[in-house]
C-alpha cells in the first residue's frame, strides 16, 4: 500500500543553468522539499549551490527545468547571503524593518514584531546600533532577523556562517535550530561544511562539482532538539563520516 505524502512545499524538476559564457553550472537538478524540512545543500565550492538557491528565490532564471513552489511562495521567502549585506547607513532596527517597509507596512504597526524578532536573535539593546559597531556574528544575526521578520514559509541561507569563527558559528547554529523548532519554516541551507550540515539538517543533499548534480540524498535521523553536546556524540560522528565519504565521491 502506498502512503500518501503531503504535496511538497517546493518541487524542482530538471533544473539546468548555463551561464552566458557557456559554463554549465547546474545540470538537471530535481529536488522535492517537504514543508517544515531543514535541508542542507552540501558541496564543494563552485558546484552551483548558490546558483540553485538564487533560482529558487526567483533572483535568477533557470535555462531549463521547472520550479513548482507549493501554493505560490512569492513574497514568502527569506534570504540570507554569505555576507550580512546590511545597509551601513541604517540602524539595526531600520535594517530589520526593511522588508516590511518595502511591503508598505507602517513602522508603528510592526514595531512589536521587529522587537520580538530582534529578541529572538539576541539583539535586544542593539536596536539603535549601526552595522559597523557590531561584530561579524552580530551582523549576521541582524541579517537573519531581517529574513525572519516577515515570517517567511521558506528560508534560504547561502553559506551564512562561512566567514565566522568556530565559536560564533556553533552558537549561531544552535540559535537557528531553536528558532526553527519554534517557528517551523522550511529551510534550505547551503554549506560546504560536513559537520555543520549534519548538525543542522534533517536531510543532507550532496552535490557534485561543476556541472552541479545531486549525487546523494541522506536523511539525518538525529532527534531534535540538538544541542552542543551532540557535536561529540558517536552517532553524530558516524553520520559525519558517512556524509563525508559521499562528499568525497561527489568530488572524485
Amino acid at each position: 500500500m502506498q502512503v500518501l505524502e503531503p504535496a511538497p512545499l517546493l518541487s524542482l524538476a530538471g533544473i539546468v543553468k548555463v551561464f552566458r559564457d557557456g559554463t554549465r553550472a547546474l545540470d538537471g537538478v530535481s529536488l522535492d522539499v517537504a514543508e517544515g524540512a531543514f535541508v542542507s545543500l552540501l558541496g564543494p565550492s563552485g558546484c552551483g549551490k548558490s546558483t540553485l538557491l538564487r533560482i529558487i528565490a526567483g533572483l535568477a532564471e533557470p535555462s531549463a527545468g521547472t520550479i513548482e513552489g507549493g501554493q505560490g511562495l512569492t513574497g514568502q521567502i527569506g534570504f540570507v547571503f554569505q555576507e550580512p549585506t546590511l545597509m551601513p547607513w541604517a540602524t539595526v532596527s531600520e535594517n530589520v524593518y526593511l522588508p516590511l517597509r518595502i511591503k508598505g507596512r507602517p513602522r508603528a504597526e510592526v514595531e512589536g514584531r521587529i522587537a520580538r524578532t530582534l529578541e529572538g536573535l539576541g539583539l535586544r539593546g542593539f536596536e539603535r546600533a549601526y552595522p559597523r559597531q557590531l561584530s561579524g556574528g552580530m551582523r549576521m544575526r541582524v541579517s537573519i532577523a531581517r529574513a525572519l521578520v516577515t515570517s517567511p514559509r521558506l528560508l534560504l541561507l547561502d553559506e551564512p556562517f562561512a566567514a565566522l569563527d568556530e565559536i560564533t558559528r556553533f552558537r549561531l547554529n544552535e540559535d537557528l535550530l531553536r528558532l526553527w523548532q519554534e517557528q517551523r519554516w522550511t529551510v534550505i541551507f547551503v554549506t560546504h561544511s560536513v559537520f555543520e550540515s549534519v548538525f543542522l539538517a534533517s536531510r543532507v543533499v550532496v552535490m557534485t562539482q561543476r556541472p552541479g548534480r545531486i549525487s546523494a540524498d541522506l536523511p539525518i535521523a538525529l532527534p531534535y532538539p540538538r544541542e552542543g553536546a551532540l557535536r561529540t556524540a558517536p552517532d553524530y560522528m558516524a553520520l559525519c563520516r558517512t556524509v563525508s565519504a559521499r562528499l568525497g565521491e561527489a568530488m572524485a
Binding site: 534570504f79 541604517a90 526593511l98 522588508p99 518595502i102 559597523r132
Partner: protein
C-alpha cells in the same frame, strides 16, 4: 617614526599651528624683502600695507564680495539641485545617460572663459544671470558625475534583496540608491562649491560691466588698472578666505551627514 613623534603629529593643535607657522614665516620673509630692497608698493606691497588696506577699504570690498558670493551661492544651489536631478534621470534610463553624458562632458571641458562672452550676449546684459549661468556650467559637472557613479554603486546583494521583496523603482531609488550615492554626491558637492566661486570670478573678469553693482573680481581688475596693488591683494585675500570657508562649511556638512556610518569620517583605529 617613533610613538611620541607620531602623537605630536596627530595632535589637533599641531595641525593648526604647523601651517600657521609656515604662513607667519612666509609673511615675515616677504615684509623683510620689501623693506630691505625698498620695493615700491605699486610693484609689491608689504603684507602690513595689504593688511592696512584691508582694514581701510574692507567695507567697500566686502560689499563687492557680497555680490560675488550671492551669485556663487545661487549657482552652487542650482548646480546641486539640477545635478542630482540629472543624475537620477541618468540612473533610471541608460538611453538618456548614453545620449546626454557626452554633452555634459563637452560642456565641462570647454573653458568657461571662452563661452562667457557668448552667454553675456545672449543674456542681453543681465549681469547677474550671465554670471550665474557661467558658474553653473563649471559647478554642475562634479555633482552629476559623482552622483551618477554613486547611484550605480549599489551593493548587488542588497539590490537582489529589494527585488526579492518586490520593491518598486521608487523604493529602490529612495531606500537603496540615494543613500548609497550620498557620500559620492557630497564629495562632488565639495568640489563644485569651490568651482562655483571660480566660475563667478572668471566670468566677472570677462563681463567687465561699467555699472555700479560689481563683484569682487571686477574690483580686482579695476585696482590692477590703477596700479593699486595693495587693494588688489586685499581683495584676493578676501576671495581666498571665501573659498576656504566654502570648503570647510561643505566639509562640515558632509561629516555631519555621514558621521554615523561612512568609513571616510570614522576615527582611525588605535
Amino acid at each position: 617614526m617613533n610613538g611620541a613623534l607620531r602623537q605630536v603629529f596627530s595632535n589637533r593643535w599641531f595641525r593648526v599651528l604647523a601651517p600657521a607657522a609656515v604662513g607667519m614665516l612666509f609673511l615675515c620673509g616677504w615684509e623683510g624683502i620689501v623693506r630691505w630692497y625698498e620695493i615700491p608698493p605699486y610693484i609689491l606691497p608689504s603684507p602690513v600695507l595689504v593688511g592696512e588696506t584691508l582694514w581701510t577699504d574692507g567695507g567697500s570690498l566686502v560689499g563687492s564680495l557680497w555680490i560675488t558670493l550671492r551669485v556663487t551661492a545661487v549657482a552652487f544651489a542650482s548646480a546641486v539641485i539640477l545635478g542630482v536631478l540629472i543624475a537620477v534621470l541618468f540612473s533610471q534610463s541608460r538611453l538618456l545617460e548614453t545620449s546626454l553624458f557626452p554633452y555634459a562632458i563637452a560642456l565641462q571641458v570647454t573653458p568657461v572663459v571662452s563661452i562667457a562672452p557668448l552667454i553675456i550676449v545672449w543674456t542681453r546684459g543681465d549681469y547677474f544671470l550671465a554670471l550665474l549661468i557661467c558658474a553653473w556650467i563649471v559647478a554642475f559637472f562634479p555633482v552629476v558625475a559623482n552622483t551618477t557613479l554613486g547611484l550605480r554603486s549599489v551593493d548587488r546583494n542588497l539590490a537582489a534583496l529589494f527585488r526579492l521583496y518586490g520593491a518598486s523603482r521608487w523604493q529602490i531609488l529612495r531606500h537603496l540608491q540615494l543613500p548609497t550615492a550620498l557620500p559620492f554626491f557630497l564629495a562632488g558637492a565639495r568640489i563644485s562649491g569651490g568651482l562655483a566661486l571660480v566660475g563667478v570670478v572668471v566670468s566677472e573678469f570677462v563681463a567687465e560691466t561699467g555699472g555700479a553693482e560689481t563683484g569682487l573680481a571686477a574690483r580686482i581688475l579695476e585696482a590692477s588698472y590703477r596700479l593699486e596693488i595693495a587693494r588688489e591683494m586685499a581683495a584676493l585675500v578676501l576671495l581666498s578666505l571665501s573659498g576656504i570657508t566654502i570648503y570647510f562649511v561643505l566639509d562640515g556638512i558632509s561629516r555631519l551627514l555621514l558621521s554615523h556610518w561612512h568609513e571616510s569620517v570614522l576615527p582611525a583605529d588605535d
